[in-house]
Subunit: 295 residues, 2 copies
């Protein structure tokens, strides 16, 4: 059987090829914009969301062409959110994945516009007939991505995060904030396979439950990495949350309880996959990986 | 017969009601984001794009529910582009429609995020089953909006505009830049009625040709207003292009030739509507209006 690590490497390669295909360069002055779109999406990140899409789509024998496109669309949304998040008016980060952030490599205006264009492109990709022959499926994918990433999803979570300094942040509040900010998009990545494959309601519920626990485990692990991680490995500044006095799972629960919680969550996530056969094995491994990763 | 001015007022009222419905407020901290989304989209602008959607949809007896949603989606995209365009890193404008711009009324981070969320919401609205019962139509609308507003459309045009200072801008270059920056979205507004109404190819071509000339006439008129307009009426700073030494239709053609060109274009736009009956009369009036407006 293919190992999880091998699979993640393969997904990274496939994703670069797909994004390269989907983000061609024009000859006109808008080329600079497209170069920035490529800069922020090609060759970067763990590609966890694409992995989740491809694996969940694999449960239902979806075509590779369609699931790669959905994976690319979700990754574009993830990457645009990082570009905007890194802006001086937001987190003001200079480093991302060990490279200058988009507004450093280009300029602020180009970074803002390239984020906008990546977000727009994601919907173009989902609506394309190559994604699925049934327009109802394409329309559903568009709807679910919009809900996961809009004001009641990812962008709402970013606003929540920006306001957190003025709020009483307890564990339920941090959980809800992270659920919006990262959980919803991770959930959509997992659930998109069920949409593409027209899965039965019971299978969709299983994926939803898995995604929920996985997303939360992922975020707790992120907070642990911010405390314990090594800057060179993580590829971005660490210890920033503590320096900023931000409420995190670690600051609220303590390091040990946060670790116990993350451990409990990935095991629970795996249990939800009991309705699937061995084709879900890499998803089972992924749950452990998100907690035990070093970056 | 309803006059064009009456119709535009009615569209403005309908649009506010529709946007109010589509942009409800949450109770959580993401409420601030939603307030910014509403601030930048409710009660503002001429609502020319919504007018064009409703009129073109009216040619094919589309349902009011569906065409109002498409109109709102396009207006959300238009409004998000203004919010991002006004940012300090872009045009750095303090005033829009006679009110503080979003980053002045809120802050820069909230303005960036509210633009992102408006763009996302537009696709959610198009994909909603209330927009059209046929998912193929919804998927087509998503695709067309994405193409009109992405890196090969509106956002590409904004990038082009930002680079213009370093380029040799002659009339074909300014035409292409404006075609991307404003023309593509105006075209989609006009053509969306044909998508919603499953218009015949010949009708779609007529709308496309009308939209092309209308969009260009609109932009030339905008350049004329920047020279001749009154700041209080226009609701934003005027004379900015000349001050910035920007190439415009007026700077390249001179004021008189620009006016002749705009006049020729709106008359040509009207001619393309010959395939339609009197139901296209308000679209005919609109072509004249975009050239002769004072704001």
């Amino acid at each position: 059987m293919e190992s999880f690590e091998q699979s993640l490497v393969a997904v990274g390669r496939q994703m670069n090829e797909e994004l390269d295909r989907l983000l061609p360069l024009s000859d006109g002055p808008e080329r600079r914009l497209q170069e920035a779109m490529r800069y922020s999406s090609l060759d970067g990140g763990k590609r966890l969301r694409p992995f989740l899409v491809l694996q969940s789509a694999g449960l239902f024998n979806c075509t590779q062409v369609g699931s790669l496109r959905v994976a690319a669309a979700i990754e574009m949304v993830h990457c645009y959110s990082l570009v905007h998040d890194d802006l001086p008016a937001m987190d003001d980060d200079d480093l991302r994945r060990g490279r200058p952030t988009a507004h450093k490599a280009f300029d602020e205006a180009t970074a803002i516009l390239s984020g906008d264009a990546l977000l727009t492109k994601a919907f173009e990709v989902l609506a394309g007939v190559e994604t699925h022959s049934d327009p109802q499926v394409r329309s559903d994918l568009v709807m679910e991505l919009a809900l996961a990433s809009g004001d009641r999803g990812m962008v709402g979570g970013q606003m929540f995060d920006l306001m957190a300094g003025e709020l009483e942040m307890d564990v339920p509040a941090v959980t809800r904030m992270q659920q919006l900010k990262t959980g919803r998009l991770i959930s959509f990545a997992v659930e998109s396979g069920g949409v593409l494959g027209k899965a039965a309601p019971q299978q969709r519920l299983a994926l939803k439950a898995y995604a929920h626990d996985l997303g939360l485990a992922f975020q707790i692990a992120d907070d642990i990495l911010d405390v314990e991680g090594d800057e060179a490995t993580v590829g971005k500044g660490v210890g920033k949350d503590a320096d900023a006095g931000k409420a995190t799972f670690v600051s609220l629960l303590g390091l040990e309880r946060a670790k116990t919680q993350a451990d409990m969550l990935w095991r629970q996530a795996v249990k939800h996959l009991d309705v699937f056969d061995e084709r879900a094995d890499l998803l089972r491994q992924a749950a452990q990986f998100v907690v035990e990763r070093k970056a």
